[in-house]
């Protein structure tokens, strides 16, 4: 069996461009999903029942269905209902943000709830408003506790971005699969794709383990 590894070098710039888009998608999705997840968490802890139910329904729906289906759903259904045609990248981003912010909201909610009630009461007793007690007392403490869970979500997000290839967003997996069909060099191209994901993902997985050790909650 002869190998054609030169194909990889001939298309190196396309592989790199795909990898860059994968990284961009990961970073952008997380940047948008952090505030979105926090808002969802607040809505789930709201005083009004209707808001609580709506937020819970959103979160549970996106946590209980496959991301690949969510991406298709946003791709086909959103233009029909909302009557807007978005570029593929924006569509992918919406799908990813809905999914990841749902996971983030559970993380934030668990973090907020884990801060003992006494912290709240002490804040209020000192004359703070509810908002102040949340921003100055509860959230800073919760932030340290949710870091490990957020790090785990980050790595699975990095992997999940590969699913945007199904709606022709030109990330690393889309580009690789396309080069495969153009050149018919299957083994080498697919192995290069896996290797590139490995080189990017492996250090992240290790970093997550470190975050887990470093910020472990011991009470």
């Amino acid at each position: 069996m002869t190998f054609h590894w030169s194909v990889i070098w001939e298309h190196a710039d396309r592989f790199v461009a795909g990898a860059m888009l994968t990284i961009e998608l990961t970073v952008l999705t997380m940047l948008l999903s952090l505030p979105a997840g926090l808002i969802l968490a607040f809505l789930r802890l709201s005083r009004w029942r209707l808001i609580r139910i709506a937020a819970t329904a959103f979160v549970e729906l996106f946590r209980s269905t496959p991301l690949i289906l969510q991406i298709y759903w946003v791709y086909y259904v959103l233009p029909v209902f909302a009557d807007i045609r978005l570029p593929g990248l924006a569509t992918a981003l919406i799908g990813l943000v809905c999914n990841i912010s749902s996971y983030n909201s559970e993380t934030f909610r668990a973090g907020i709830v884990s801060i003992r009630r006494g912290q709240w009461n002490a804040g209020l007793a000192l004359g703070m408003t509810r908002g102040q007690a949340m921003w100055r007392i509860v959230l800073p403490q919760a932030a340290m506790r949710v870091l490990p869970a957020l790090a785990t979500t980050w790595v699975s997000l990095f992997k999940d971005t590969s699913l945007v290839s199904v709606i022709h967003v030109e990330d690393l997996s889309y580009v690789s699969l396309k080069i495969r069909t153009e050149t018919f060099v299957i083994l080498e191209v697919l192995t290069a794709m896996a290797a590139m994901y490995w080189f990017m993902g492996y250090p992240q997985a290790k970093l997550v383990d470190w975050v887990h050790r470093r910020f472990k909650v011991a009470e």
Binding site: M1, E60, L61, S64, T65, P66, L67, I68, L69, Q70, Y72, W73, Y76, V77, V80, F81, V155, K159, D160, T161, S162, L163, S165, V166, S173, L177, R180, I186, L187, L190, T191, M193, A194, Y197, W198, M200, G201, Y202, Q204, A205, K206
Partner: protein
């Protein structure tokens, strides 16, 4: 817009068959994944440094490479090296199991290490072999503690099986794409699909949560 669910009604046999395939590959990949997970998790915990490093490399690699890539590689590239041919369903089950197995292994390892060392020493002192102690004393307690993670891995297995559609495994996602492509009723079909997957995953997750609350005391020592 008008909603027309007729493709769902006329093709329901085709789609329910696909649902069967989704359940089938989810169950098989869960079973194989669990076997891989228990073996790898136990060997990493009790098998010494070298095994821990080698198997740790497998686990961390699977945590780093997207499932889509594992699936595509297993179906298109692996047969070229191995000189065999795989059908889509077999390749799908292999890839899903190998990927899920790594996550199972992490869960099993966390469960095993959470059981206090005194349990193992007590079992050894009673004359059990190490294998026996793991099987009869440590694992039963660890399994109860692992239950919440195992529950979420079950829903992950179902959700991940949808990714097998990219290598044309005839499961629910793939077959729905075919029906949607033939009838152009994307909205109805993909919305129905969201509901079906939700009905599969959500009760499963809540059910395992409930079960755990009832048996949690059995895992404390």
């Amino acid at each position: 817009m008008d909603i027309d669910i007729s493709p769902l009604l006329t093709r329901w046999q085709f789609l329910s068959q696909a649902l069967g395939v989704t359940v089938y590959i989810s169950l098989l990949s869960l079973t194989f994944g669990f076997i891989i997970g228990v073996l790898v998790g136990a060997l990493r915990t009790y098998g010494g440094r070298l095994l821990d490093a080698l198997l740790g490399f497998y686990v961390d690699s699977m945590r780093a490479i997207p499932l889509l890539v594992v699936l595509v590689w297993t179906f298109f590239a692996f047969p070229l090296i191995a000189g065999i041919s795989l059908n889509t369903t077999t390749a799908g089950i292999i890839a899903l199991s190998v990927h899920l197995g790594a996550y199972m292994a992490e869960t099993v390892r966390a469960g095993l290490t959470s059981v206090r060392g005194g349990q193992m020493r007590a079992a050894l002192a009673l004359g059990m072999s190490r294998i026996e102690a793991i099987r009869k004393i440590i694992l039963p307690q660890a399994l109860i503690r692992m239950l919440p993670s195992l529950g979420s891995l079950c829903t992950f297995a179902i959700k991940d099986s949808a990714i097998a559609s990219v290598i044309a495994v005839p499961e629910l996602m793939r077959q729905s794409q075919i029906v949607a492509g033939q009838t152009y009723h994307y909205v109805e079909i993909y919305t129905a699909l969201m509901i079906v997957y939700f009905l599969l995953c959500y009760p499963l997750a809540r059910g395992v949560d409930r079960l755990y609350r009832r048996v949690a005391h059995l895992g404390s020592s």
